[in-house]
């Protein structure tokens, strides 16, 4: 599963949440629309590229999240969540770390955890995206 994922290139990941696959995916079309809106708005506002990974981490979670991040670019921010393992990681790169200090990421992670504890995955992700976008400021 994760082997297949590592084969993908970022060019294949450009099209955002895919509504037509909602039937077999973890989210309903309405949830995907919220996620899409949050991702697009926060990326447009800040000029950083936010992306959200939802799935299992293999081996050490942090190493896997960083390996995923390495396929993005310097101004990316990755929110990686594993609902099964109950772990979340926020990863910033050389450019995005200047705008988003670790303290801002930790605050967003705290807010996301609060929603995830209640079973609200999309709510937590949109909250995290909004908080990160707010602390990064406009482009």
């Amino acid at each position: 599963m994760s082997g297949e994922l590592t084969m993908r290139t970022t060019a294949e990941l450009q099209y955002g949440p895919r509504g037509q696959e909602a039937g077999e995916g973890p989210f309903t079309p309405a949830q995907l629309a919220r996620l899409d809106e949050a991702l697009t708005l926060s990326s447009r506002e800040t000029g950083l590229m936010f992306s959200v990974y939802v799935g299992e981490f293999v081996a050490t979670a942090r190493a896997h999240a960083e390996a995923l991040f390495e396929k993005l670019d310097d101004s990316s921010v990755l929110l990686a969540v594993s609902p099964g393992q109950r772990i979340l990681h926020i990863v910033t790169g050389p450019e995005s770390a200047k705008r988003l200090p670790n303290r801002a990421c930790a605050l967003a992670a705290l807010a996301m955890r609060a929603s995830f504890t209640n079973g609200d995955l999309v709510g937590g992700l949109t909250t995290g995206l909004r908080m990160l976008a707010d602390s990064a400021g406009s482009h």
Partner: protein, 77 residues
Amino acid sequence: MTVVQTVLVFVGIPAGIIALLFLAVYGRSLVGQPNRYRPGRPWTFAPSWYVPHPEAVVRPGGGAGSTTAVGGASGEW
């Protein structure tokens, strides 16, 4: 009124009203959320990666490349 009519009026109608209210309150959540996440349950979906629409993002470096992780945060729940 016969016994059957009495039972229908005094038991059937209230039971019908209660059933309607129950469906109005819980009906959507009975059918509408087959894949709701509950903490502690296993997650059986394939990994998915969501990115914003390409036109929303201005890429100074021209896009897809490789980078290294610098910072961030983590948490468990």
